[in-house]
Amino acid sequence: MDRAAPLSGIPRRLRLATAIGALLALLGTYVFATTTRADADPGVNVIRVAEFPADCTYSHRLPDDPIIFPGLPGASHMHSFFGSTVTNAHTTLPDLVSSPTTCNPRTDVSSYWVPTLYNNNVPVEPTIVTFYYLGEGVRADVVAATQPIPQGLRIVAGNAKAAGPNESIARWSCLHAGQVPPSKNFVTCPAGTMMESYLDFPQCWNGRDLDSPDHKSHMAYPVNQACPSTHPVHVPKLRQVLRYPVNGNPALFRLASGPGYTMHGDFFNAWPVAEMARRVQDCIRPVIKCGHDGRPI
Protein backbone atom coordinates (compact mmCIF):
# COMPACT_ATOMS: atom_id res chain seq x y z
CA MET A 1 0.00 0.00 0.00
CA ASP A 2 2.95 2.29 0.60
CA ARG A 3 3.55 2.24 -3.08
CA ALA A 4 -0.06 2.48 -4.15
CA ALA A 5 -0.47 6.15 -3.44
CA PRO A 6 2.50 7.30 -5.47
CA LEU A 7 1.52 4.98 -8.30
CA SER A 8 -1.98 6.36 -8.41
CA GLY A 9 -0.58 9.86 -8.09
CA ILE A 10 1.65 9.62 -11.14
CA PRO A 11 -1.15 9.38 -13.64
CA ARG A 12 -2.78 12.43 -12.05
CA ARG A 13 0.43 14.39 -12.32
CA LEU A 14 0.91 13.14 -15.88
CA ARG A 15 -2.59 14.25 -16.80
CA LEU A 16 -1.88 17.66 -15.32
CA ALA A 17 1.44 17.90 -17.14
CA THR A 18 -0.21 16.84 -20.37
CA ALA A 19 -2.90 19.48 -19.97
CA ILE A 20 -0.34 22.18 -19.24
CA GLY A 21 1.74 20.94 -22.16
CA ALA A 22 -1.25 21.12 -24.44
CA LEU A 23 -1.98 24.64 -23.29
CA LEU A 24 1.62 25.63 -23.91
CA ALA A 25 1.49 23.98 -27.32
CA LEU A 26 -1.66 25.90 -28.18
CA LEU A 27 -0.07 29.10 -26.97
CA GLY A 28 3.07 28.26 -28.96
CA THR A 29 1.04 27.65 -32.08
CA TYR A 30 -0.68 30.98 -31.60
CA VAL A 31 2.62 32.81 -31.16
CA PHE A 32 4.12 30.91 -34.12
CA ALA A 33 1.19 31.73 -36.38
CA THR A 34 1.25 35.37 -35.28
CA THR A 35 4.98 35.60 -35.99
CA THR A 36 4.49 33.96 -39.36
CA ARG A 37 1.74 36.38 -40.29
CA ALA A 38 3.95 39.27 -39.31
CA ASP A 39 6.57 38.08 -41.82
CA ALA A 40 4.31 37.33 -44.76
CA ASP A 41 0.93 38.11 -46.23
CA PRO A 42 -1.73 38.21 -43.51
CA GLY A 43 -3.73 35.05 -43.13
CA VAL A 44 -1.35 32.84 -45.11
CA ASN A 45 0.02 29.71 -43.45
CA VAL A 46 3.45 29.66 -45.01
CA ILE A 47 5.82 26.69 -45.06
CA ARG A 48 8.89 27.43 -42.97
CA VAL A 49 11.54 26.36 -45.49
CA ALA A 50 13.90 28.95 -47.00
CA GLU A 51 13.50 28.15 -50.68
CA PHE A 52 12.68 29.42 -54.14
CA PRO A 53 12.98 27.28 -57.29
CA ALA A 54 13.64 27.56 -61.00
CA ASP A 55 12.69 24.69 -63.28
CA CYS A 56 14.80 24.89 -66.44
CA THR A 57 14.34 22.19 -69.07
CA TYR A 58 17.08 21.03 -71.44
CA SER A 59 18.11 23.64 -74.01
CA HIS A 60 21.07 22.45 -76.08
CA ARG A 61 24.37 20.57 -76.18
CA LEU A 62 27.80 21.96 -77.08
CA PRO A 63 31.44 20.95 -76.39
CA ASP A 64 31.82 24.44 -74.89
CA ASP A 65 32.39 25.92 -71.44
CA PRO A 66 32.28 29.73 -71.09
CA ILE A 67 33.73 29.53 -67.55
CA ILE A 68 36.60 27.03 -67.93
CA PHE A 69 37.29 27.60 -71.66
CA PRO A 70 36.00 31.10 -72.47
CA GLY A 71 36.38 31.93 -76.15
CA LEU A 72 37.49 28.40 -77.07
CA PRO A 73 34.61 26.58 -78.82
CA GLY A 74 35.11 22.82 -78.96
CA ALA A 75 37.69 22.80 -76.15
CA SER A 76 35.47 21.02 -73.63
CA HIS A 77 33.81 17.66 -73.27
CA MET A 78 30.12 17.67 -74.23
CA HIS A 79 27.87 19.76 -71.98
CA SER A 80 24.10 19.86 -71.68
CA PHE A 81 22.82 23.41 -71.14
CA PHE A 82 19.72 24.54 -69.21
CA GLY A 83 18.19 27.99 -68.81
CA SER A 84 19.51 30.55 -71.29
CA THR A 85 19.23 29.17 -74.82
CA VAL A 86 22.19 31.12 -76.23
CA THR A 87 25.11 29.89 -74.10
CA ASN A 88 28.28 28.95 -75.97
CA ALA A 89 32.04 29.34 -75.48
CA HIS A 90 31.86 33.12 -76.04
CA THR A 91 28.97 33.88 -73.67
CA THR A 92 29.30 36.79 -71.27
CA LEU A 93 26.81 38.37 -68.88
CA PRO A 94 25.30 40.84 -71.41
CA ASP A 95 24.56 37.90 -73.75
CA LEU A 96 22.63 36.12 -70.99
CA VAL A 97 20.72 39.16 -69.74
CA SER A 98 18.99 39.62 -73.10
CA SER A 99 18.54 35.92 -73.90
CA PRO A 100 15.53 33.61 -74.13
CA THR A 101 15.35 30.94 -71.44
CA THR A 102 13.88 27.51 -70.81
CA CYS A 103 13.30 28.40 -67.15
CA ASN A 104 10.13 28.70 -65.17
CA PRO A 105 10.16 31.52 -64.06
CA ARG A 106 11.01 33.22 -67.38
CA THR A 107 12.80 35.91 -65.43
CA ASP A 108 15.68 33.48 -64.78
CA VAL A 109 17.97 33.89 -67.79
CA SER A 110 20.92 32.30 -65.98
CA SER A 111 22.89 29.50 -67.62
CA TYR A 112 23.37 26.10 -66.01
CA TRP A 113 25.34 23.23 -67.53
CA VAL A 114 26.48 19.70 -66.72
CA PRO A 115 28.43 16.96 -68.54
CA THR A 116 26.12 15.09 -70.90
CA LEU A 117 24.93 11.64 -69.74
CA TYR A 118 25.27 8.84 -72.29
CA ASN A 119 23.53 5.46 -72.24
CA ASN A 120 25.33 3.08 -74.61
CA ASN A 121 26.83 6.20 -76.29
CA VAL A 122 23.40 7.77 -76.89
CA PRO A 123 22.92 11.13 -75.12
CA VAL A 124 20.17 11.18 -72.48
CA GLU A 125 18.83 14.49 -71.20
CA PRO A 126 17.08 14.93 -67.86
CA THR A 127 13.32 15.47 -68.20
CA ILE A 128 12.87 17.07 -64.76
CA VAL A 129 15.42 19.79 -63.99
CA THR A 130 15.08 21.89 -60.85
CA PHE A 131 17.46 24.45 -59.39
CA TYR A 132 16.57 25.12 -55.77
CA TYR A 133 17.86 28.24 -54.08
CA LEU A 134 18.02 27.43 -50.37
CA GLY A 135 18.84 28.91 -46.99
CA GLU A 136 20.17 25.83 -45.24
CA GLY A 137 23.37 24.27 -43.94
CA VAL A 138 24.14 27.33 -41.81
CA ARG A 139 22.82 28.80 -38.53
CA ALA A 140 19.50 30.64 -38.50
CA ASP A 141 21.21 34.01 -38.00
CA VAL A 142 23.39 33.36 -41.06
CA VAL A 143 20.30 32.49 -43.12
CA ALA A 144 18.67 35.71 -41.90
CA ALA A 145 21.68 37.69 -43.21
CA THR A 146 21.72 36.04 -46.67
CA GLN A 147 22.75 38.36 -49.51
CA PRO A 148 21.52 38.10 -53.11
CA ILE A 149 23.79 36.19 -55.50
CA PRO A 150 25.54 38.96 -57.45
CA GLN A 151 24.68 39.13 -61.14
CA GLY A 152 27.52 37.67 -63.20
CA LEU A 153 28.77 35.36 -60.43
CA ARG A 154 30.12 32.07 -61.77
CA ILE A 155 30.07 28.99 -59.53
CA VAL A 156 31.25 25.46 -60.22
CA ALA A 157 30.44 22.44 -58.06
CA GLY A 158 31.59 18.84 -58.12
CA ASN A 159 34.86 17.44 -59.43
CA ALA A 160 35.09 16.71 -63.16
CA LYS A 161 38.53 15.21 -62.59
CA ALA A 162 37.57 12.90 -59.71
CA ALA A 163 39.62 9.70 -59.96
CA GLY A 164 37.30 7.91 -57.54
CA PRO A 165 34.21 8.30 -55.30
CA ASN A 166 36.35 9.67 -52.45
CA GLU A 167 37.21 12.74 -54.51
CA SER A 168 33.56 13.49 -55.28
CA ILE A 169 30.51 15.20 -53.76
CA ALA A 170 28.19 13.73 -56.42
CA ARG A 171 25.01 12.00 -55.21
CA TRP A 172 23.03 9.61 -57.37
CA SER A 173 19.70 8.13 -56.26
CA CYS A 174 16.33 6.96 -57.59
CA LEU A 175 13.16 9.05 -57.81
CA HIS A 176 10.27 7.18 -56.10
CA ALA A 177 12.64 4.43 -54.92
CA GLY A 178 14.07 5.67 -51.64
CA GLN A 179 15.04 2.12 -50.66
CA VAL A 180 17.97 2.30 -53.10
CA PRO A 181 20.88 3.78 -51.11
CA PRO A 182 22.34 6.96 -52.65
CA SER A 183 25.83 6.66 -54.10
CA LYS A 184 28.56 8.87 -55.50
CA ASN A 185 28.46 6.74 -58.64
CA PHE A 186 25.50 5.64 -60.80
CA VAL A 187 22.88 3.50 -59.04
CA THR A 188 20.64 0.70 -60.31
CA CYS A 189 17.10 2.11 -60.21
CA PRO A 190 14.02 -0.16 -60.32
CA ALA A 191 11.87 -0.32 -63.44
CA GLY A 192 9.41 2.55 -63.56
CA THR A 193 11.67 4.94 -61.62
CA MET A 194 14.16 7.58 -62.73
CA MET A 195 17.83 7.93 -61.88
CA GLU A 196 18.49 11.32 -60.29
CA SER A 197 21.51 13.47 -59.50
CA TYR A 198 21.80 15.93 -56.60
CA LEU A 199 24.57 18.51 -56.44
CA ASP A 200 24.99 21.32 -53.89
CA PHE A 201 26.95 24.43 -54.90
CA PRO A 202 29.12 26.39 -52.43
CA GLN A 203 27.21 29.24 -50.77
CA CYS A 204 29.93 31.39 -49.17
CA TRP A 205 31.32 34.16 -51.39
CA ASN A 206 34.53 36.16 -50.86
CA GLY A 207 32.47 39.28 -51.51
CA ARG A 208 34.81 40.51 -54.21
CA ASP A 209 35.36 38.28 -57.26
CA LEU A 210 32.76 37.07 -59.75
CA ASP A 211 35.21 34.33 -60.80
CA SER A 212 38.73 33.21 -59.91
CA PRO A 213 41.66 31.66 -61.78
CA ASP A 214 40.73 28.15 -60.68
CA HIS A 215 37.03 29.09 -60.89
CA LYS A 216 36.57 27.79 -57.33
CA SER A 217 38.53 29.83 -54.81
CA HIS A 218 36.15 32.83 -54.79
CA MET A 219 33.54 30.48 -53.26
CA ALA A 220 33.59 28.14 -50.26
CA TYR A 221 31.34 25.69 -48.44
CA PRO A 222 30.23 26.53 -44.89
CA VAL A 223 32.31 25.44 -41.91
CA ASN A 224 30.56 24.73 -38.60
CA GLN A 225 27.24 26.09 -39.87
CA ALA A 226 28.72 29.43 -40.87
CA CYS A 227 30.70 31.04 -43.68
CA PRO A 228 34.48 31.13 -43.11
CA SER A 229 36.12 34.55 -42.58
CA THR A 230 37.82 34.27 -45.99
CA HIS A 231 34.40 33.95 -47.66
CA PRO A 232 32.13 35.93 -45.33
CA VAL A 233 29.15 36.64 -47.60
CA HIS A 234 26.36 34.08 -47.33
CA VAL A 235 24.31 33.71 -50.53
CA PRO A 236 21.51 31.23 -51.29
CA LYS A 237 22.73 27.66 -51.72
CA LEU A 238 22.07 26.36 -55.22
CA ARG A 239 20.93 22.74 -55.25
CA GLN A 240 20.81 21.15 -58.71
CA VAL A 241 18.39 18.22 -59.07
CA LEU A 242 18.30 16.36 -62.39
CA ARG A 243 15.93 13.45 -63.11
CA TYR A 244 16.99 11.28 -66.06
CA PRO A 245 14.59 8.96 -67.91
CA VAL A 246 16.83 5.93 -67.33
CA ASN A 247 16.86 3.04 -64.86
CA GLY A 248 18.23 -0.47 -64.54
CA ASN A 249 21.83 -1.63 -64.93
CA PRO A 250 24.11 1.44 -65.15
CA ALA A 251 26.97 -0.50 -66.80
CA LEU A 252 26.51 1.40 -70.09
CA PHE A 253 25.99 4.80 -68.47
CA ARG A 254 28.79 7.36 -68.65
CA LEU A 255 29.14 11.10 -68.34
CA ALA A 256 31.04 13.15 -70.92
CA SER A 257 33.55 13.73 -68.10
CA GLY A 258 33.78 10.06 -67.07
CA PRO A 259 32.13 7.87 -64.39
CA GLY A 260 29.17 9.03 -62.28
CA TYR A 261 31.41 10.50 -59.58
CA THR A 262 32.76 13.07 -62.10
CA MET A 263 29.33 14.78 -62.05
CA HIS A 264 29.74 18.54 -61.85
CA GLY A 265 27.70 21.63 -62.48
CA ASP A 266 28.41 25.13 -63.70
CA PHE A 267 26.25 28.16 -62.94
CA PHE A 268 26.48 31.61 -64.53
CA ASN A 269 24.08 33.88 -62.63
CA ALA A 270 22.05 36.26 -64.78
CA TRP A 271 18.92 36.68 -62.63
CA PRO A 272 17.70 40.29 -62.84
CA VAL A 273 19.13 41.99 -59.74
CA ALA A 274 15.74 43.07 -58.42
CA GLU A 275 14.14 39.62 -58.91
CA MET A 276 16.98 37.88 -57.05
CA ALA A 277 16.91 40.50 -54.27
CA ARG A 278 13.14 40.18 -53.84
CA ARG A 279 13.35 36.40 -53.47
CA VAL A 280 16.17 36.62 -50.93
CA GLN A 281 14.17 39.23 -49.01
CA ASP A 282 10.79 37.43 -49.17
CA CYS A 283 11.77 33.72 -49.16
CA ILE A 284 15.29 33.05 -47.86
CA ARG A 285 15.80 35.51 -44.99
CA PRO A 286 12.34 35.00 -43.40
CA VAL A 287 12.52 31.22 -44.09
CA ILE A 288 9.47 30.91 -46.33
CA LYS A 289 8.95 28.38 -49.11
CA CYS A 290 8.23 30.24 -52.34
CA GLY A 291 7.02 29.13 -55.75
CA HIS A 292 8.41 29.94 -59.18
CA ASP A 293 6.98 33.44 -58.93
CA GLY A 294 8.97 34.07 -55.77
CA ARG A 295 5.79 34.38 -53.67
CA PRO A 296 4.97 32.22 -50.63
CA ILE A 297 3.33 28.92 -51.55
Binding site: P63, I68, F69, P70, G71, L72, P73, G74, A75, S76, H77, A89, H90, T91, T92, L93, P94, D95, P150, G152, A160, K161, A163, R208, D209, L210, D211, S212, P213, D214, S217, H218, S257, G258
Partner: protein, 213 residues
Protein backbone atom coordinates in the same frame (compact mmCIF):
# COMPACT_ATOMS: atom_id res chain seq x y z
CA UNK B 1 31.83 39.01 -76.83
CA UNK B 2 35.36 38.11 -75.88
CA UNK B 3 35.90 40.49 -73.01
CA UNK B 4 34.28 40.68 -69.63
CA UNK B 5 33.15 44.25 -69.51
CA UNK B 6 31.00 44.36 -66.39
CA UNK B 7 31.70 46.94 -63.72
CA UNK B 8 33.09 44.32 -61.29
CA UNK B 9 35.57 43.22 -63.95
CA UNK B 10 36.73 46.78 -64.33
CA UNK B 11 37.21 46.88 -60.57
CA UNK B 12 39.25 43.71 -60.77
CA UNK B 13 41.42 45.16 -63.50
CA UNK B 14 41.99 48.17 -61.28
CA UNK B 15 42.76 45.85 -58.37
CA UNK B 16 45.41 44.04 -60.42
CA UNK B 17 47.07 47.27 -61.49
CA UNK B 18 47.10 48.62 -57.96
CA UNK B 19 48.26 45.37 -56.43
CA UNK B 20 51.08 45.25 -58.94
CA UNK B 21 52.61 48.61 -58.06
CA UNK B 22 51.29 49.90 -54.75
CA UNK B 23 51.24 48.90 -51.12
CA UNK B 24 49.23 50.42 -48.33
CA UNK B 25 46.67 51.90 -50.69
CA UNK B 26 43.48 52.96 -48.93
CA UNK B 27 41.46 51.55 -51.83
CA UNK B 28 39.98 48.26 -50.58
CA UNK B 29 40.15 46.91 -54.11
CA UNK B 30 43.94 47.05 -53.88
CA UNK B 31 43.90 44.27 -51.31
CA UNK B 32 42.89 41.80 -54.00
CA UNK B 33 45.75 39.39 -54.66
CA UNK B 34 46.87 39.59 -58.29
CA UNK B 35 46.38 35.86 -58.73
CA UNK B 36 42.68 36.23 -58.04
CA UNK B 37 42.21 38.66 -60.86
CA UNK B 38 44.50 37.58 -63.66
CA UNK B 39 42.04 35.66 -65.87
CA UNK B 40 39.53 38.47 -65.60
CA UNK B 41 41.81 41.23 -66.83
CA UNK B 42 40.38 41.03 -70.29
CA UNK B 43 40.07 44.68 -71.22
CA UNK B 44 42.19 45.43 -74.31
CA UNK B 45 42.32 49.07 -73.21
CA UNK B 46 45.01 48.02 -70.76
CA UNK B 47 47.63 47.53 -73.47
CA UNK B 48 50.85 49.11 -72.26
CA UNK B 49 49.84 48.80 -68.61
CA UNK B 50 52.42 48.00 -65.93
CA UNK B 51 51.22 44.38 -65.84
CA UNK B 52 53.66 43.48 -68.60
CA UNK B 53 55.45 44.92 -71.60
CA UNK B 54 53.54 42.68 -74.00
CA UNK B 55 50.10 43.70 -72.75
CA UNK B 56 47.49 41.94 -70.63
CA UNK B 57 46.25 38.38 -70.89
CA UNK B 58 42.56 37.62 -71.29
CA UNK B 59 40.67 34.70 -69.80
CA UNK B 60 40.75 33.11 -73.25
CA UNK B 61 44.55 33.49 -73.48
CA UNK B 62 45.08 31.82 -70.11
CA UNK B 63 42.54 29.03 -70.68
CA UNK B 64 44.15 28.25 -74.03
CA UNK B 65 47.69 28.22 -72.58
CA UNK B 66 46.60 25.91 -69.75
CA UNK B 67 44.87 23.55 -72.15
CA UNK B 68 47.82 23.59 -74.57
CA UNK B 69 50.19 22.63 -71.73
CA UNK B 70 47.81 19.88 -70.56
CA UNK B 71 47.46 18.44 -74.08
CA UNK B 72 51.22 18.46 -74.71
CA UNK B 73 51.83 16.81 -71.32
CA UNK B 74 49.49 14.02 -72.40
CA UNK B 75 50.95 13.56 -75.90
CA UNK B 76 54.69 13.45 -75.07
CA UNK B 77 54.58 10.07 -73.25
CA UNK B 78 52.86 8.65 -76.34
CA UNK B 79 55.63 9.89 -78.62
CA UNK B 80 58.24 8.48 -76.22
CA UNK B 81 56.84 5.00 -76.95
CA UNK B 82 57.52 5.19 -80.69
CA UNK B 83 61.21 4.07 -80.86
CA UNK B 84 60.44 0.97 -78.76
CA UNK B 85 57.26 -0.06 -80.60
CA UNK B 86 58.13 0.38 -84.28
CA UNK B 87 61.27 0.11 -86.39
CA UNK B 88 59.76 2.01 -89.35
CA UNK B 89 62.08 5.00 -89.94
CA UNK B 90 59.26 7.13 -91.41
CA UNK B 91 57.17 6.79 -88.23
CA UNK B 92 60.20 7.46 -86.07
CA UNK B 93 60.94 10.61 -88.09
CA UNK B 94 57.36 11.78 -87.73
CA UNK B 95 57.42 11.20 -83.97
CA UNK B 96 60.71 13.09 -83.63
CA UNK B 97 59.33 15.99 -85.67
CA UNK B 98 56.06 16.21 -83.69
CA UNK B 99 57.93 15.92 -80.41
CA UNK B 100 60.34 18.73 -81.32
CA UNK B 101 57.58 21.20 -82.16
CA UNK B 102 55.54 20.19 -79.09
CA UNK B 103 58.49 20.60 -76.72
CA UNK B 104 59.26 24.03 -78.18
CA UNK B 105 55.62 25.14 -77.98
CA UNK B 106 55.29 23.69 -74.47
CA UNK B 107 58.25 25.81 -73.31
CA UNK B 108 56.70 28.92 -74.84
CA UNK B 109 53.30 28.10 -73.30
CA UNK B 110 54.80 27.70 -69.84
CA UNK B 111 56.76 30.95 -70.11
CA UNK B 112 53.66 32.83 -71.21
CA UNK B 113 51.57 31.29 -68.41
CA UNK B 114 54.22 32.43 -65.97
CA UNK B 115 54.12 35.94 -67.45
CA UNK B 116 50.33 35.99 -67.17
CA UNK B 117 50.43 35.63 -63.39
CA UNK B 118 47.83 32.90 -63.65
CA UNK B 119 48.27 29.50 -62.00
CA UNK B 120 51.07 27.52 -63.65
CA UNK B 121 49.84 24.18 -62.32
CA UNK B 122 47.91 22.05 -64.77
CA UNK B 123 44.21 22.53 -63.95
CA UNK B 124 43.34 19.65 -66.28
CA UNK B 125 45.65 17.10 -64.62
CA UNK B 126 44.04 13.68 -64.87
CA UNK B 127 41.12 15.03 -66.87
CA UNK B 128 40.30 13.42 -70.20
CA UNK B 129 39.55 16.30 -72.57
CA UNK B 130 38.80 16.04 -76.29
CA UNK B 131 41.91 15.05 -78.24
CA UNK B 132 43.63 13.65 -75.16
CA UNK B 133 44.71 10.03 -74.98
CA UNK B 134 43.20 8.21 -72.00
CA UNK B 135 45.06 5.97 -69.55
CA UNK B 136 43.35 2.91 -71.08
CA UNK B 137 44.38 3.93 -74.59
CA UNK B 138 47.96 4.44 -73.43
CA UNK B 139 47.94 0.92 -71.96
CA UNK B 140 46.75 -0.49 -75.32
CA UNK B 141 49.51 1.41 -77.12
CA UNK B 142 52.13 0.00 -74.74
CA UNK B 143 51.18 -3.57 -75.65
CA UNK B 144 51.00 -3.01 -79.44
CA UNK B 145 53.87 -3.19 -81.93
CA UNK B 146 54.49 -2.68 -85.65
CA UNK B 147 51.56 -1.84 -87.89
CA UNK B 148 48.93 -2.27 -85.17
CA UNK B 149 50.88 0.24 -83.05
CA UNK B 150 51.12 2.57 -86.04
CA UNK B 151 47.38 2.34 -86.65
CA UNK B 152 46.57 3.19 -83.01
CA UNK B 153 49.19 5.94 -82.97
CA UNK B 154 47.81 7.47 -86.17
CA UNK B 155 44.33 7.66 -84.63
CA UNK B 156 45.52 9.32 -81.42
CA UNK B 157 47.91 11.67 -83.18
CA UNK B 158 45.23 12.76 -85.64
CA UNK B 159 42.74 13.39 -82.81
CA UNK B 160 45.32 15.37 -80.84
CA UNK B 161 46.55 17.49 -83.75
CA UNK B 162 43.02 18.16 -85.03
CA UNK B 163 41.89 19.35 -81.59
CA UNK B 164 45.09 21.39 -81.07
CA UNK B 165 44.55 23.19 -84.39
CA UNK B 166 40.85 23.74 -83.58
CA UNK B 167 41.45 25.45 -80.24
CA UNK B 168 44.55 27.34 -81.44
CA UNK B 169 42.41 28.75 -84.26
CA UNK B 170 39.89 29.87 -81.62
CA UNK B 171 42.70 31.53 -79.64
CA UNK B 172 43.88 33.33 -82.78
CA UNK B 173 40.37 34.73 -83.23
CA UNK B 174 39.47 35.37 -79.61
CA UNK B 175 42.75 35.95 -77.79
CA UNK B 176 44.13 39.31 -76.68
CA UNK B 177 47.79 38.87 -75.73
CA UNK B 178 50.02 39.30 -78.83
CA UNK B 179 52.66 36.76 -77.79
CA UNK B 180 49.99 34.17 -77.03
CA UNK B 181 48.21 34.78 -80.34
CA UNK B 182 51.57 34.39 -82.11
CA UNK B 183 52.10 31.06 -80.38
CA UNK B 184 48.60 29.97 -81.40
CA UNK B 185 49.49 30.82 -85.01
CA UNK B 186 52.60 28.64 -84.69
CA UNK B 187 50.51 25.77 -83.27
CA UNK B 188 48.08 26.04 -86.18
CA UNK B 189 50.95 26.09 -88.70
CA UNK B 190 52.91 23.24 -87.08
CA UNK B 191 49.73 21.23 -86.55
CA UNK B 192 48.74 21.52 -90.21
CA UNK B 193 52.26 20.47 -91.28
CA UNK B 194 52.27 17.50 -88.89
CA UNK B 195 48.79 16.45 -90.03
CA UNK B 196 49.94 16.57 -93.65
CA UNK B 197 52.91 14.32 -92.79
CA UNK B 198 50.63 11.96 -90.90
CA UNK B 199 48.19 11.84 -93.80
CA UNK B 200 50.99 10.82 -96.17
CA UNK B 201 52.04 8.01 -93.82
CA UNK B 202 48.56 6.90 -92.86
CA UNK B 203 45.77 8.42 -94.97
CA UNK B 204 42.59 9.17 -93.02
CA UNK B 205 39.46 7.27 -94.06
CA UNK B 206 37.93 9.12 -96.96
CA UNK B 207 39.25 12.51 -95.83
CA UNK B 208 41.53 14.60 -98.04
CA UNK B 209 44.97 15.16 -96.57
CA UNK B 210 45.38 18.24 -94.41
CA UNK B 211 41.67 18.90 -93.74
CA UNK B 212 42.17 18.90 -90.03
CA UNK B 213 39.72 21.24 -88.48
Amino acid sequence: MRTLVSAPSALLVAALLLAGCATGSPDPAATAPPSATAPLTAAPSNAGSPTGTAGPFSATDIAWLQLTVAMADRLLPVLDLVPGRTTDPAWRRLATQVEATHRANLDRSRRLLNDSGGPTTNPHEGHDMPGMITAEELTSLRSATGTSFQRLLAGHLRAHLTQAVRIATAEQRGGVHPGTIALAAAVVRNGADDLARLDRLHPPNGRPAGQAA
